[in-house]
Symmetry: C2
Subunit: 565 residues, 2 copies
Amino acid sequence: MNQENQLIEKSLKIGVCQVELSLGDFDANKQKVIDSIEKIKAENPDIIVFPECTLMGYYPADLLERKSIILDQLNVLKELEYYLKENLNPGIGIFIGGLSLNPSLKGKPFYNSAFFWNGSNFETVFHKTLLPTYDIFDEARHIEPNPLNYPQTLIWKGHTILVTICEDIWAWENLKGQSYYPENPLKHQKDSVDLIVNLSASPYWFNKQKTRLRVISETSQHFEAPMVYVNQIAGQDETVFDGSSVVTNKEGKPVWIGDLFKEEFKCFELDLLDKEKKQNLSKIDLPEVHIKPDTEEQLYEALKFGLKSYVHLAGFQKVHLGLSGGLDSALVAQLCVDTFGKENVTCLYMPSKFSSDLSDKIVKDLKNNLEFKYIEQSIQAIFEFYIGEVSTDIIPKAFGLTHENIQARIRANILMAYSNSNKSLLIGTSNKSELAVGYATLYGDLCSAYNPIGDLLKTQVFALSKFLMQEKQGLTSEVIKRPPSAELREGQKDEDSLPSYEELDAAIQKIIIKRQAANTEIEKWVLTKLYQTEFKRWQSPPILKVSQHAFGRGRRMPLNHKAKS
Amino acid sequence: MNQENQLIEKSLKIGVCQVELSLGDFDANKQKVIDSIEKIKAENPDIIVFPECTLMGYYPADLLERKSIILDQLNVLKELEYYLKENLNPGIGIFIGGLSLNPSLKGKPFYNSAFFWNGSNFETVFHKTLLPTYDIFDEARHIEPNPLNYPQTLIWKGHTILVTICEDIWAWENLKGQSYYPENPLKHQKDSVDLIVNLSASPYWFNKQKTRLRVISETSQHFEAPMVYVNQIAGQDETVFDGSSVVTNKEGKPVWIGDLFKEEFKCFELDLLDKEKKQNLSKIDLPEVHIKPDTEEQLYEALKFGLKSYVHLAGFQKVHLGLSGGLDSALVAQLCVDTFGKENVTCLYMPSKFSSDLSDKIVKDLKNNLEFKYIEQSIQAIFEFYIGEVSTDIIPKAFGLTHENIQARIRANILMAYSNSNKSLLIGTSNKSELAVGYATLYGDLCSAYNPIGDLLKTQVFALSKFLMQEKQGLTSEVIKRPPSAELREGQKDEDSLPSYEELDAAIQKIIIKRQAANTEIEKWVLTKLYQTEFKRWQSPPILKVSQHAFGRGRRMPLNHKAKS
């Protein structure tokens, strides 16, 4: 052992700051960094790790068109630098995520970077190599990748630290040998590594956690080094970021998993030497923790978190929705009450002559159980007035689709009027199964500022509702069991126009989510409907994404085309 | 001169097929290829060049999620191969664009390729190197780039032909030394090249042609070789592809420029030798042609072409719109009549008590001049019925924004009812200046299936209208000169809520189109309004793109953020 090694501590203490960040709110994010350091510094960490794009928040999307915004962020980084110089013990190293300028005139204008505070400045900068360019992510639009083979390590207190940013650890092959990336940049790292850090902004979806843990473990195992993976918390438009940060031991076993949708500030002393012995658990004996399977409870947390973030960031405190007597709107009513409190939720029931007694009863029961503000406003007279007033060149005499749609659009007018007069956001109630086949009225029941259940298949709506019925006072078995109906004409039932929801959802899973070819009659019918109704989804509100493949901005189908498979 | 060179013809005859393609319509596109070859083969071309993605059409966007579609396209390529084997003189080489499979399990699943028909098969395949990933284009989502340094040439009849696909020629630095790409793949081509072909799908925008010619000339000059650049014609959702194909001589001067929005089938005999002498014009003496500056007439052609393509591809023959008495809807009425014929256009005038006598008169004059089908349907009684019927918790007594919006939404209900009952598509009338600052009612006047003027600034609406007034019977000076107003309340004028349109448009040019920082008070006001109203544009209909930076799918701003510059 040479002299240098004798000076090296066998362990490093790492601080994890799983923080909630706000897109473009540089001052608030800077203050969050300062407050986090204040919280954690008493434990004397050697290194503190923050999530990706700490000061900017993530995902900025086309805000990256505007260089002025990146310059603002770099100014705030300078302010942070002054603060740290004045206030922090220089023995603490800090990783902060952020955008940096590509100094070349060629290539995309920015890098997605990790700035390292070395006790006196942020001059050591690392760049992200793999740029997610799929689903909602378009990093290749604005960001230049770090060149392969560009060094990604630094030495701190004698230890070699590999710095990775989010996607950089996602090129490992899956079980089928597939990878999104032709090359895995981590395989170019030839040096021995003592610790891996990953600054992340990784969105939540149901049942993702096991995949995320697989790539973290694989990275940690590859280098035989512990890993500290720090993910942000955020509700950004259609996407929620859940935290669930991870620390592994050098065997790649998770020794800590952060909570979902809650900030975490933790220090871990990690054993970084003893490579020769390859001990499973080192002198700092952190026991392995096990992932729990994703639950309905977690899914509901994701819905509440995403909805609350959207509404509050948009500057609203109050929400409202149209109750139909059906399950989708009943579930959204429960969700809104659980998210905002009954005093901030108004439900409007807008019956017509096609509304059934059962709908009336269900709505009254929900009102009694959930105690939201309630307004009943019939649309029947307005509907009849339209028919009497408007030329038969526009609304023909024979009852048909025109009449069905007008009812849905009168309801939308009333709901939007309530928005205007009460500074309340309209919350949507269309599920993913309906959206897939366009079983909804554009400018009618599709209207809303935000749709929190637009990524739930109808079968998931059933399952979540059953879970909630057992947990809470609210939904009744009546609303769960009734046959779904739009109630826009006499005796209408969803099942007259659609396959059973079990069959429909199985087809959607196969052809939309797994993107496989349509083979059966039902699958072909779903694909045809999907293609025919793209124009409705184009003009639909943002959808809270809780699956790997949601409708919304992450899906960009052409409107006019003749493809058939 | 060796024996091989003695056999080489000094010239090659190249056939250009500037064809209109239809996305995903494999059979139609295959037939188009066959018909084009039949048209042109009597001239004995040595090579025929088709546009990018010939069989698929372009831009497929997330259709590329579906491998089944690519397999369909490859099957049709096989069918074409059989046809050519049976029917074509083997001395004709053909370049066809299309998607091919990435055989590796790693990286994105497809290549964007050029298949070369060598007289017996399509086995020679080239891949696109530079993948446009900006604005409406997301090629890096699904497509793997050709590796740099991978050969891009083939020898045909003794001549070395460099094969490029669209974006491959766009990495030349601009006048400021900037390039979207860190490396220009063309600079890696060390071999002498006799001819360059480019299979293209390059969208139209106003004043683009000079930029396009610059990169074509620069490529041709770099290799001191003639170039054949073949662009498709298509109206695909928000984008129009104009053709305007180009042939240059070996000095990089254009010797032919194809027409806009019209198919072209031309043969050119190009001098490929005499490199030593560097003669400007060779024995095949094609004179240089000059670009004409873009005109209002061309812009109007683009609008008509895009609108017609959208409506017909969506399966509709008839269109309708709401006439307000203002200039935007008057221009759209003229556009629809010129595009579809007066017998296929219905204009609905839906006055309220706020509609002025001037609006009445303008609408009557338009009706007389353009002779569209006309329906007048007052909204006043319906509006008053809403107020009498709906609870004051929803529509308060004091006249305000709620009341303004309801009027716009009643009109939308009527226009959509007309859609339902007459199988007619609703055409939008919102201009880019209004859209930028959200001066429009969501689910009201923003409703339409397609907005053909959503990428025209109000000052462009004025200029185009003046041009049309001189050319045609339709628009009157009265409608051009009147002060713009939404007429949703007493005495309302746009200028009470907005800066003058000259100032507004200058600010939009600077901060939205050129993406510069906002400095003046008006620019800051526009930026604030832009950010506040993103939710309206998120749910807006598709917009016909005629500028470099349109609202619509090519712009992906977050909804909630706190950025201020």
